[in-house]
């Protein structure tokens, strides 16, 4: 009798479609799931979801320094990527292909693509949202160092999510993410005559672009100030 009772509970939960509501699933709801799930990309090497780099609240939560803007009010900005994408799907696909290792861009009419769009619209109440600046720091040059304490905060807010704990990498998102700052031990050989700090600055400012390679997004001048970058380098003892 007890067995039959619990089985009934489990089956009822399944039958209820998990949420207790057996109505249709809204595309926005499905889109939110996709937004937070790295499996949106079919690549077996991908560990990034949209949420890895983007908040969805009007301002990013405290303790979070993302390379990407919050996507609250993103749907109607008019242009993205500093004006270099004028269609939201193209902007999304640039992330999807380059950072999430998507094999091919999301098509306009796939359920996943449409659901993502509807989720983004659901968190975009303003139809008059303005495009946001995105300033690429073209030249990787030294920055003034800041405080170690601030650098630790920056590491936690900007780096730790992907790279894990400093020195060990414990808890990192993927083993493809380097352990900091230990990865710089080889820089003297790889980049003779170049201070390792400049290599790190290049990686932060250029991400995978400008011939750098890898999978890391870049931090624009708006996403990370030189002051915070300098503090981070102090924390990393670079």
């Amino acid at each position: 009798m007890r067995l039959a009772g619990w089985t009934a509970v489990a089956l009822a939960a399944f039958a209820a479609g998990c949420g207790g509501d057996d109505g249709p699933v809204s595309a926005a709801e499905y889109g939110e799931v996709l937004f937070n799930d790295a499996r949106l990309s079919e690549s077996t090497f991908n560990r990034f979801s949209c949420a890895t780099c983007h908040a969805t609240t009007p301002t990013p939560p405290a303790g979070r320094l993302d390379s990407g803007y919050t996507l609250y009010d993103s749907a109607f900005r008019g242009s993205w990527w500093g004006g270099y994408e004028t269609r939201l799907l193209d902007a999304v696909n640039f992330c999807y292909v380059n950072f999430m290792r998507g094999v091919a861009p999301l098509t306009e009419d796939s359920p996943q693509s449409r659901a993502l769009y509807e989720y983004l619209v659901s968190i975009s109440p303003s139809r008059d949202a303005k495009p946001l600046p995105f300033t690429v720091v073209k030249d990787a040059t030294e920055v003034a160092r800041g405080s170690r304490a601030r650098g630790q905060e920056v590491y936690r807010a900007a780096c730790q999510g992907c790279h894990g704990e400093p020195h060990t990498g414990a808890g990192r998102l993927t083993e493809l993410a380097s352990v900091l700052p230990e990865v710089t031990a080889d820089y003297g050989e790889l980049f003779p005559g170049v201070p390792p700090s400049v290599v790190v600055i290049e990686k932060v400012r250029h991400g995978q672009f400008f011939g750098v390679g890898g999978n890391m997004p870049l931090y624009s001048a708006e996403a990370l100030s030189d002051a915070d970058l300098g503090a981070l380098l102090t924390f990393l003892e670079l």
Binding site: A10, V25, L40, G78, Y84, L88
Partner: protein, 416 residues
């Protein structure tokens, strides 16, 4: 006991799937997905498609944009930039759009991506924008300005043109880097310095042929029957490419009896303008500031009609459809020379500098040949300009500020 525990995994699964209260299980789309927006992914920035009046396209090579201007506003107070749209494959890096070709039907246009952008960025991994990477030819939908195709070509794409039927593109590679690199190695064999002419299927955006033409070929134009391509070569030559042969044959003709080398040219041909009536190729040589004439029949230069006395480097000119007048913009003093092709004499000049032109680069005539549209590079730090020149009046009647270092002007559609 064992039997009683058999239901536990099912329950755990059920609860796990429901633990966040979501009705979605995993990333597979639910069967009963309900959409609120029938038209997803609306355009962020809407720009009206070109109308029957036609549209002017300008490539801004240092900021990865195209300036769009409605053709029917030329000569009116409405002569202004309609929009500036991004172009390229990558919104992060500057890619140096260089020259535009338009399809005869006005449905597509093609942009060369040079990846040559001085000051494009630097770091321990190297300096970006030096032209050492391969270039591309992009195909864009003229109505939406969206990328619909691309093909990788060689480094430093230069000029790009379309055949009259729009089915074939011809793209040169102005690869002076290759010349410099080989010269640094002590190599003097100019055939090793040759860069290629890409012949591209415009429908599939695939390469049909890559033809070695000459060191740093830049301007390319087709003969009226499109059986021959003429190419201005930095090595003091014009390359004559026989497009009927397979592979295409190349003959190189020195532009003067007194020439230099690819490493040290005395004339440095850069641009080329074809007479619509005689088929003569008028070669703009930047170092000697001459415009030299190639006879297409004899395949020899006609030094008697060489345009001389220009006070700066001549660039991309334009003929009137009757072949009787050649308009040639030139730099330093920045003027538009009006040339009699029968004699090679400069009949008069239109001052462009006083209208704000710096580094005149190309002139294109409006379909009614009433105006010349002269694009000027600017100082490469601030905006360049497009000037509408009333050809009968010999005066600039309109100026539009465009993007950084504009280097081409094309007309999409437009009916005379």
């Amino acid at each position: 006991m064992r039997r009683r525990r058999a239901w536990v995994p099912a329950l755990v699964l059920a609860l796990a799937a429901c633990s966040d209260g979501s009705k979605v299980d995993g990333v597979e789309p639910p069967e009963d997905l309900e959409y609120a927006h029938p038209e997803p992914w609306v355009e962020g920035t809407f720009i009206p498609p070109p109308g029957p009046g036609g549209r002017i396209l300008i490539t801004n090579s240092l900021d990865d944009t195209l300036s769009l201007i409605e053709l029917d506003t030329v000569g009116t107070p409405g002569f202004k930039e309609l929009a500036r749209v991004p172009v390229g494959l990558n919104p992060v890096e500057l890619e140096g759009p260089h020259h535009t070709a338009v399809s005869p039907a006005g449905d597509f246009f093609y942009v060369g991506i040079s990846n040559y952008v001085p000051g494009g960025g630097s770091g321990p991994h190297g300096t970006h924008g030096t032209g050492s990477e391969d270039g591309y030819c992009l195909k864009l939908d003229a109505r939406t300005h969206r990328l619909v195709g691309s093909v990788r070509v060689d480094p430093n794409p230069g000029d790009v043109i379309a055949s009259r039927d729009g089915l074939t593109l011809y793209q040169t590679h102005f690869d002076t880097l290759k010349i410099a690199e080989l010269a640094r190695q002590g190599i003097t064999d100019e055939r090793r310095m040759d860069a290629r002419l890409a012949i591209i299927d415009a429908a599939t955006m695939s390469r049909k042929a890559m033809v070695d033409v000459c060191p740093a070929p830049h301007a390319v134009r087709l003969s009226r029957d499109e059986r021959t391509a003429y190419v201005a070569c930095w090595s003091d030559e014009v390359a004559i490419v026989d497009l009927t042969a397979n592979p295409p044959g190349v003959q190189r003709v020195k532009v003067s009896a007194n020439v230099g080398t690819a490493v040290n040219p005395r004339h440095a041909p850069y641009a080329l303008t074809l007479s619509p009536t005689t088929g003569e190729a008028w070669v703009s040589s930047t170092a000697s500031r001459q415009v030299q004439v190639l006879n297409p029949i004899t395949r020899a230069m006609d030094p008697a009609r060489t345009v001389q006395g220009l006070r700066g480097p001549p660039m991309f000119g334009a003929f009137t459809s009757d072949g009787r007048t050649l308009y040639m913009p030139y730099q330093l003093v920045d003027a538009l020379a009006v040339i009699d092709p029968a004699t090679g004499l400069v009949l008069r000049e239109v001052d462009l500098a006083s209208a704000g032109c710096v580094n005149a680069h190309q002139v294109e005539l409006t379909p009614d040949e009433r105006y010349g549209l002269v694009v000027c590079e600017g100082d490469h730090q601030g905006p360049g300009t497009l000037h509408a020149v009333d050809l009968a009046e010999g005066a600039v009647v309109g100026t539009v500020r465009v993007g950084l270092f504009p280097d081409s002007v094309s007309i999409l559609g437009g009916r005379p």
